[in-house]
Amino acid sequence: MACSNPATSEGNQYYRHSLPVRIMHWINVILLTILLMSGLNIFNAHPALYWGEQSYSGVPPILELKSRETDEGEVHGVTRIFGHAFGTTGFLGASSNEEGDLVGRGFPSWLTIPGNQWLAMARRWHFFFAWLLAVNGIGFLTYSIASGHLHRDLLPTMQDWRSIGRSTVDHLLFRRPTGEAAKYYNVLQKFAYLTVIFVLLPLVVLMGLGMSPALDALFTGWVGIFGGRQSVRTFHFVVAWALVLFTVIHVFEVIVNGFWNNLRSMITGNFRIKSEANHE
């Protein structure tokens, strides 16, 4: 692993992330973690997803995490997705409760807040931290536009557009920019961040609001644009996991590109640029 020791690697440091960006980044990490985990607890109250306005049109769910009890009293977890069933005992559909007994449960207790099945409390967590996410998001957008962060660091330049092909090949071959080029986000990185900021996060919030029966009445039928209320619920779930997928790739990139260096730059702001010929 390329965990280069910051004390010995040469190269010059430069100030990469401003204080507001660093603070809002870590707030976002905490908020999204809580929202995901409390969201999974809410999902567990009815662990099935549908397409359309409703759940009982006669069409089976797209995804369902169920438990099944055999005649001998054994509990099995079953994940059914697009009509294909998989045994997922211990993880999805059925997992251990506090006493260590297998019980029917969508997502396991270690992935949910609170750990036990407690819809009222999960909703409290979820809606409270959803407000904070909105505040943090608006704060980030305002700062990014006002300070030039968006324009300077995130929006692709003409050169970026031209280098998409080469950048993609480099990326797949694990050739990472060094020297001066390492100072700037590469074009794929910019696309990833812009997708999260302007597509995934706004979408997950909008799809969350789409589940509100009150807000559905704001402009009659607006949830229908997304397929209906149950489709909106499905989108909310899928986009949440898309954010998890982004996070996995993001953390992977952080690790392979110098874990401590990247981590430090998001804490103190300082990023050390490796000189050209420095591969481990």
């Binding site: 306005e53 009982y56 909703r123 409270f128 029966p213 009150a214 009445a217 039928g221």
Partner: protein, 258 residues
């Protein structure tokens, strides 16, 4: 195990990470069980209520659907047959002896038979029912406009909420009857009805016969089934648990617009 030393740092970090996660989760559990933190979190839902009240026009209508969208079977949730001998006897008799009591802060308290209720101005609507659990079902409801009933009994000036007292006990021993409450904005909304028909037939017992509330811009738990008595009040802090409803007393929010 030659790579023991090589792995030390990584396994140590992994263990530290797992430890931090476990402690954090235990912390979240402790917080969930503490009253003060639950109260702090409740600020979020209060903000939701305020903002939704602000942006949503008072008479904004919930979406209504075409006949083709009706659920083949309208799901029954919660109580399907109240464990209440008096209710069961009434149900056996086709609710001929049913009387809806209306009392509290009204000028003309009284009782209404089903025939009286059916004689009030009615509304028929095909709407989507959204349960707090996450599922939705679509049904066609017909019922008396609650506004018409409240106008008939004349509210007193200090009236603020309508409390619905129901026939279904929520405890095994037959205690804790279900109840709910709504404010007057919702009570006078055109889609707020006391439904006596579902999908063109008399309301089945499993869906709340003889009368259930339809409150189309909030979640299902607000829509009390087996309604026996309306009580108009200024505040509900002295009724049962004081939170305005059975589920509210269990920790759910009074405002269920989200």
């Amino acid at each position: 195990m030659s790579d023991d030393t090589k792995l030390t740092r990584r396994s140590l970090l992994t263990r530290m990470f797992a430890g931090v996660c476990a402690v954090t989760l235990a912390g979240c559990q402790k917080l969930s069980e503490s009253t003060w933190f639950s109260k702090v979190l409740g600020v979020g839902e209060k903000a939701t209520r305020r903002v939704q009240k602000l942006v949503l026009p008072r008479k904004a209508m919930a979406q209504e659907f075409p006949e083709a969208d009706l659920s083949p079977q309208f799901r029954s949730n919660g109580t399907a047959m109240p464990r209440n001998p008096a209710f069961m006897a009434m149900a056996k008799n086709g609710f001929a002896d049913y009387r809806l009591a209306v009392e509290g802060l009204v000028e003309h308290p009284g009782t209404f038979s089903l025939a009286d209720i059916r004689a009030l101005p009615s509304r028929t609507q095909i709407t989507r029912h959204d349960c707090v659990e996450g599922w939705s079902a679509i049904g066609r409801w017909k019922g008396a406009r609650l506004s018409a009933l409240l106008e008939a009994v004349h509210l007193k000036p200090n009236a603020r909420y309508v409390v619905f007292h129901c026939a279904d006990p929520m405890e095994e021993d037959g205690s804790s009857p279900y109840y709910e409450s709504i404010d007057l904005d919702d009570a006078f909304h055109p889609q707020t009805i006391l439904a006596y028909e579902l999908n063109g037939e008399s309301l089945p017992v499993k869906n709340g016969a003889p009368l259930r509330l339809r409150l189309e811009r909030q979640l299902g738990y607000k829509m009390a089934k087996y309604v026996m008595r309306l009580e108009v009040v200024e505040d509900f802090s002295r009724i049962v648990g004081g939170k305005g409803g059975y589920w509210e007393d269990q920790g759910y929010e009074w405002y269920a617009g989200i």
